[in-house]
């Protein structure tokens, strides 16, 4: 209880936990998505252990329906589908995370610089960003894969290069918005250096959004990797889900009615992308609470209309 001369009592509001914790646990969607991702991550990490058989061993000459020994059967080349699936998880998640990280680093940096410095720098950076935004992503990735070679590293970099632009725009907008906040101006008026403001106020406010956005980018990246591999431009030396789907088609699995070859990789991609999307969107929702009772917020009669989400009476 605080007693001031006017006897004002501290309003009781549930304490907010640290943002990091809140980001992860604040939303049921996020928890669900992250748990699902965690499961896939575990599968990917334990791939060599889980896979019932070594991945590159052929067992027969063609399709074989699921049995106890091979729970997902054999594909057209005689390889165990489950083993390939589980190893494919490694590829997809690895590529997804690194590509998203690349995108986050590039997009985040450009966003921060453009939003903070403003002026001509911002103008120039944003025009470059616009260029990358409008480039059709898949054709660019195809061209890049064709030109720079089909290695896993190249794919990761290419995906990151294509997807950083939307992150940059988002971060820039957020940085600019934070800079206009009264508490930032107050501290600037006190004589804080731009670096001080950036590190102590802007970055902490913007970083959670960056994290949420990166999780969403993971979804995009995994999907992109699948696409590339499906088109045959992926790394031929590793197993990936996209490659499995391509192989399935090439081997005539559909015609042969071998559903156990086509369905699992497709389903796996769908689930992982869904999990990442749900988690990322859940995080964004946590950061952007539009309380249904926003209109009961204490902020009231303003002399001038202000920024702010809590607008309704």
């Amino acid at each position: 209880m605080v007693a001031s001369p006017s006897g004002e009592r501290v309003v009781s509001v549930p304490t907010r936990r640290g943002t990091a914790l809140r980001l992860i646990t604040g939303n049921r969607q996020t928890v669900l998505g992250l748990c699902a991702l965690g499961v896939f991550l575990l599968i990917a990490l334990l791939a060599p252990v889980i896979a019932p058989t070594p991945v590159n061993t052929g067992f027969a000459n063609g399709f074989s329906a699921p049995t106890a020994v091979h729970p997902l059967g054999l594909d057209g080349g005689g390889f165990d589908v489950l083993s390939r699936l589980v190893h494919g998880a490694q590829t997809s998640l690895l590529v997804g995370s690194i590509a998203a990280l690349v995108g986050m680093v590039i997009g985040g940096t450009i966003g921060f610089v453009a939003g903070y410095v403003g002026g001509r720098t911002d103008g120039v950076l944003m025009r470059i960003t616009d260029y990358f935004l409008v480039i059709p992503d898949i054709p660019l990735m195809i061209v890049a894969a064709a030109v720079f070679g089909q290695s896993l590293t190249n794919i990761m970099i290419v995906i990151g290069l294509v997807y950083w632009a939307s992150t940059a725009r988002l971060i820039r907008a957020q940085v600019m918005s934070v800079r206009q906040r009264t508490f930032v101006k107050r501290v600037e008026a006190m004589g804080a250096s731009p670096l001080f403001v950036l590190t102590r106020h802007v970055v902490p406010q913007v970083t959670p959004l960056l994290v949420a956005n990166t999780v969403l980018m993971v979804a995009n990246a995994i999907f992109a990797e699948t696409y590339i591999s499906f088109l045959g431009l992926g790394d031929p030396s590793v197993v990936s889900w996209g490659r499995m789907i391509q192989d399935a088609l090439d081997q005539g699995a559909v015609v042969a009615g071998a559903w156990w070859v086509v369905l699992p990789p497709g389903l796996a991609v769908t689930l992982v992308v869904l999990a990442a999307t749900i988690a990322g969107q859940g995080m964004e929702d946590t950061l952007n609470p539009r309380l249904k009772v926003g209109h009961l917020a204490v902020r009231r009669f303003r002399v001038r209309p202000l920024h702010g989400a809590l607008d309704r009476p």
């Binding site: 006897g7 009592r9 009772v293 009961l296 009669f301 309704r312």
Partner: protein, 326 residues
């Protein structure tokens, strides 16, 4: 228009609004009742969080889905809350209309103002374009905007003019009741005075009953004849405005009055120590008791009933005037 003195146009009976916010409930409005007859002008005054805006939003059926509304809102004797949105909709705008808080920003920036004022006319009255435009001209004239401005866009209007346009829009379908939620709050004092004049004039000329919500007691006093003071979701006092301003019965009303700066007298201005109770707390006894200078022991135990004293309502244990409880 002749109205029988005994038949109220709008009657709010024991209105209560709770919001379900997942982690609990917010009790925004508790047992609010008042009566509005044709041409009445009622003010609802209170500070932030007292529930005054929630009351009018409930009357219009415009609360978010997590609101639980109890009580009745009777328009010409019929409970318009009873049937949900479908029973409310025919009354909206044609019978009961509203000017929202921040109405200046309620305009669609990519459509002309005339278009937007015409919209309810064309919707509810199925009027032709030409008839609607004619009516728009009449409305703009009534609120003091040159009719030629109808083809302009909202950003070409000043704040005060947009507020007038919002008023025109609210009057478009000839409602009998107008709810004005903080219509002058974001305006400069001179423009505010002009809008208050306008509200008075419109109410007189069109015979519209007015409910004026504000935190600004002097502004409300300029327009209305009766004022209801709200605190923590309840009406703590309702009285004719002259009585309230000269001899308020409820300690909160008195404190509000004492907090108004008066440049002429240079009297010391007092603030009220403490805070209103949180909306999520269940109040025991009188909600104002912790801050009341005249608090009695009973105030902390039993909630004061509404006491009707002939001129108005007072919810306070101190009220010793005889009267039947409502």
């Amino acid at each position: 228009m002749t109205t029988s003195v005994t038949a109220p146009l709008l009657e709010v009976r024991d209105l209560g609004v709770d919001f379900d916010i997942g982690s609990g409930q917010l009790h925004a409005v508790r047992g609010v009742s008042f009566v509005l007859r044709a041409r009445d002008r009622l003010g609802i005054v209170g500070e932030s969080g007292c529930g005054k805006s929630t009351v009018v939003l409930a009357m219009m059926g415009l609360l978010p889905p997590n609101a639980e509304v109890s009580g009745q809102v009777l328009f010409n004797g019929v409970d318009i809350l009873a049937g949900g949105d479908s029973s409310m909709r025919p009354h909206r705008w044609c019978d009961i209309s509203m000017v929202f808080q921040g109405a200046m920003n309620a305009f669609n920036p990519v459509r002309t103002v005339g278009d937007q004022i015409a919209e309810p006319i064309r919707m509810h009255r199925k009027a032709s374009r030409r008839d609607a435009d004619k009516r728009v001209g009449e409305l703009l004239d009534m609120v003091g905007i040159p009719a030629s401005r109808a083809v302009r866009y909202p950003h070409e209007f000043s704040g005060g003019m947009r507020q007038r346009a919002a008023l025109a829009m609210a009057l478009a379908c000839g409602p009998k009741v107008l709810l004005a939620d903080e219509p002058t709050t974001a305006l400069d004092v001179i423009v505010q005075a002009e809008i208050l004049q306008l509200l008075r004039r419109v109410s007189d000329d069109l015979g519209v009953a007015l409910v004026f919500i504000s935190h600004d007691l002097p502004a409300v006093a300029q327009v209305t004849e009766r004022v209801a003071v709200m605190y923590a979701g309840r009406v703590v006092e309702e009285a004719p405005v002259s009585r309230l301003l000269t001899a308020p019965l409820h300690p909160y009303s008195a404190a509000l009055l004492a907090a108004i700066p008066r440049p002429e007298t240079a009297a010391a201005v007092c603030s009220i120590p403490g805070e209103p109770p949180g909306l999520d707390t269940t109040v025991i006894g009188c909600a104002f008791a912790p801050r009341c200078v005249s608090v009695l022991d009973n105030c902390r135990i039993t909630e004061p009933p509404n006491i009707f004293d002939g001129e108005g309502v007072i919810a306070c244990h101190l009220a010793t005037s005889a009267g039947l409880p409502r």
